[in-house]
Subunit: 233 residues, 2 copies
DNA sequence: TAAACCAATCTGGTTAACCAATTTATTAAT
DNA sequence: ATTAATAAATTGGTTAACCAGATTGGTTTA
């Protein structure tokens, strides 16, 4: 059906075009929330793209909670109202790839909260996992090895202990980008990691003592250098 | 190949099983970051699942930044280290669906930050969009209509003005869940919406004046009822 | 008239064959 | 022996046919 050859980046464009056309369709046909979308076959023909492309986009919009696919039945518009659907799709089209600064900014925000919640809600099991991650980190650092991964896994253990699945998910989403950029820009060099051990221990201790205020304070200290890095570069 | 019949929820289980097996494979075969995964065909046969299932999982893990697929070449493990890969995959397996409380908690956290950043970074264009969203909200409320959607679109406009694409994305992800639950539990009844107009106007004004402190304060006021609701139910 | 049944149709999901770009292995030339 | 050229195999992506469950419309039955 399609004639042109597409590279990977162009495929992203195709997805955006489909989202755009889908939004127009919903607006034009005045489809209400809960209504059924035309079938995947219909859409692929109407938009002049492959059914796989349509399915990819549907899956993506399903992740954003805009669509809901039901086997052998159809794809339905989420019950959040037409205006919200249209507005959100416009926003999704406008989304940019996150830059490092954006990631760090978000990470600091999230972690100053998860560490508080972890101090309030942690179980003994959570504590054991954090201990394990912290020991792995210490071992690497004391061996003079790079320990960015172990560092982040400790922080992910805190996110888990916060018992907030949304923040936990978000932490997971930003982690790879953080690691990559840290290694790229050598944010954590050896002596910084060494200092990090005590800071991590302090955080762990505060969570163990179930002291949210202290936990947040220790995390703030831990992020001090990161703050500077984020707002200077 | 498969004999059993799968419902939608069981399909989720299959995806988890694939992720689990994939993690074991990476650990067992000692695959390093940057290494190539076995081909999709190979994996589907090895795991006893369809190639589509494998592709779905790869796409999901690609979203989390763990894998990277290159056409006509292969699927590669992200360059974030073996320990991080293994740890993250374990975390992803453990992820639960977000509950309402988790969503609200995260929303409040995000918005108290985006509103500050919006006050600092907003352009005139951002301001115009917020004004537009706010007017749509006011019109609905003054007509006595439900305006949950318009409410959220105003808040999404703030997220956009914050110029932090990660937080913007996260706000989009939680929005449908927020709307659904708001409508379900009637969080915003008529007189509450009426009061919301002034609160929204205050927030808008603070962002217009580029006063981050005031903006955050006004947002906090706006969330006051929400706070109570979140921590009581 | 309305409820119950049934077959034709439509649906998202799955499968397998196919495509073109890429990688690897083989051959040829220097 | 080394490099260049080339052919074979491998890859993710695409396509089209197929599957089983859901839906729909018409028909029959009480």
């Amino acid at each position: 059906m399609r004639v042109d050859i597409l590279t990977k980046s162009e495929n992203r464009e195709v997805q955006k075009q489909i989202i755009s056309k889908l939004r127009d369709l919903i607006n034009y046909k005045n489809l209400e929330p809960g209504d059924k979308l035309p079938s995947e076959r219909m859409l692929s023909e109407k938009f002049g793209v492959s059914r796989s492309n349509v399915r990819e986009v549907i899956q993506k919009l399903e992740f954003f909670g805009i669509l809901k696919s039901r086997p052998q039945s159809g794809t339905f518009i989420a019950d959040i109202g037409q205006i919200a659907i249209s507005g959100m799709m416009a926003d999704i089209l406008r989304l940019e790839d996150p830059d490092f600064k954006s990631l760090v900014e978000t990470r600091i925000l999230l972690e100053l909260k998860t560490v508080r919640l972890a101090a309030l809600r942690r179980t003994d099991e959570d504590l054991a996992k954090m201990r394990e991650a912290l020991d792995a980190y210490k071992k690497k650092v004391l061996n003079g090895q790079d320990a960015v991964q172990e560092d982040l896994l400790f922080h992910l253990a805190i996110a888990q202990a916060s018992k907030n699945s949304t923040m936990n998910t978000f932490m997971l989403i930003i982690t790879p980008g953080i690691i990559t950029n840290f290694e790229k820009y050598h944010v954590c060099d050896a002596n910084l990691s060494f200092q990090g051990i005590q800071e991590h221990e302090d955080i762990y201790e505060a969570i163990k003592e179930q002291d949210p205020k202290k936990a947040k304070e220790k995390m703030k200290t831990h992020f001090k250098i990161l703050y500077q890095y984020c707002y200077n570069v």
